[in-house]
């Protein structure tokens, strides 16, 4: 390759000593004396600039790990909403803000229908999925459906049930 050749030539040229005498001892390298005690810190610093093993982005999208991941995400979302309101109930109420269910749900009800739908639909989907896939995990925990076929069968079942119950919860 031309660029490689040009580059290596320029490397050699830059490294060539100015003196014309034959066999001039010349070191083209820079060395640094490093105490043994600094080995760990240098190693730690070096590890930081190492290439990172490829992870999430290289795996084929498969039902197995997608559903597993989604279980945690939906669980964190649901519990996060619950924690936020419950913690706000304790911490914000003393500041004079009325955090009672009656008041907050009234304010919430006054919002635009599209906004409410945009919040309720994901919440319904999160709850449905977490519920059904939680049952799937409990089935596995009892030692059942632990085959590739079983994992996929129950996985598609969870997806179907999630779609149904999301719809049901949404229209309730």
């Amino acid at each position: 390759m031309l660029s490689t050749r040009v580059f290596s030539r320029s490397l050699l040229r830059s490294a060539r000593p100015k003196s014309t005498a034959f066999f001039t001892p010349r070191r083209m390298i820079t060395t640094e004396s490093i105490p043994a005690s600094s080995a760990n810190s240098i190693l730690a610093a070096q590890r930081l600039v190492r290439p990172v093993s490829p992870h999430l982005s290289i795996y084929q999208a498969q039902l197995t790990w997608y559903l597993s991941m989604t279980t945690r995400i939906t669980g964190v979302a649901l519990s996060g909403v619950f924690y936020l309101y419950a913690i706000g109930y304790v911490l914000v109420s003393p500041l004079g803000v009325d955090m009672s269910v009656a008041n907050v749900s009234k304010k919430w009800g006054e919002l635009n229908g599209a906004v409410k739908a945009a919040v309720k639909a994901p919440l319904a989907a999160c709850f449905s999925f977490h519920f059904w896939n939680g049952i799937r995990h409990l089935i596995w925990d009892s030692g059942r459906e632990l085959t590739v076929r079983g994992v996929y069968r129950t996985g598609y079942g969870v997806l179907g049930l999630t779609a149904l119950s999301t719809l049901g919860l949404f229209v309730v």
Binding site: T4, F7, R16, A39, I42, A44, V52, V101
Partner: protein
């Protein structure tokens, strides 16, 4: 130190023999993002030296961008060939075989190395080195509280939540006792779930302080949420009725 230096240089050397003066020239961390060499087994038992040639990193990046095999800036070659360092010998060799500088260096094979981009989904955390490479992995003592009891406890709560969440839907209203049971299970289930996230995403080895902070933040949050839930159950309309009110608002 030579062993440490070998690891520092981030090189995989097969058939490595210490240098004559036992001064291994290590590669400084600032240039370590450049490609890495891997060597085939040395045929002759000659001492090996790691050398670095200072070179601007922009050229390195440019080559990477062109998707060409990167030229390494750390060359390994036997010191036996120290005559190569004289300009005359190099000129002769370069004239004889001017294809690539790498070809001039005997017994050196260059492996193109993909340098990952800086912005990843999960960038490497702080690197902590404890002890040496020869230390055995500490095996934690078996503890049922952190093991089987914990596992069974998680499952009992999760199992119990199935009827507790379905019952109010089926009955249309919530019995206060069932509501209390659902609230308790919900707090415990949420706490266990969040705790699993903290355990997974804040490893003790890499983020000891952040992990401790997150654990205590979670404990404080859970207690506060439990107090709030208790207040909703006792002074307000209760969990199930509250959810129903929000959902139908």
């Amino acid at each position: 130190m030579e062993l440490a230096g070998l690891r520092l240089a981030g090189l995989s050397l097969h058939g490595f023999w210490p240098t004559r003066n036992s001064q291994l020239q290590t590669v400084l961390p600032s240039v370590c993002s450049s490609p890495i060499l891997s060597l085939p087994p040395q045929k002759t038992k000659t001492p090996t030296t790691v050398i670095t040639i200072s070179e601007s990193k922009s050229a390195d990046r440019q080559i990477d961008r062109q998707d060409r095999p990167s030229i390494p800036f750390r060359w390994l070659f036997p010191t036996m060939a120290s005559t190569l360092r004289s300009s005359t010998a190099r000129r002769i060799l370069a004239a004889a075989k001017p294809t690539s500088a790498i070809r001039l260096l005997p017994q050196t094979r260059v492996a193109a190395f993909h340098v990952s981009q800086r912005h990843q989904i999960l960038p490497p955390g702080p690197q902590v080195v404890h002890g040496t490479v020869n230390d055995p992995v500490p095996v934690p003592t078996p503890n049922a509280t952190h093991g089987s009891y914990h596992w069974a406890f998680e499952r009992i709560i999760a199992l119990g939540m199935i009827p507790l969440t379905v019952a109010p839907f089926a009955a249309g209203s919530a019995n206060p006792a069932l509501d209390a049971a659902l609230g308790t299970a919900l707090v415990l289930h949420s706490h266990i779930g969040f705790d699993a996230c903290v355990t997974d995403y804040f490893p003790k080895r890499q983020y000891p302080k952040t992990r401790t902070f997150m654990i205590w933040l979670l404990r404080a949050s859970t207690i506060t949420a439990a107090v709030g839930l208790f207040s909703i159950q006792t002074n307000d309309i209760g969990l199930t009725e509250g959810i129903k009110r929000f959902w139908r608002a």
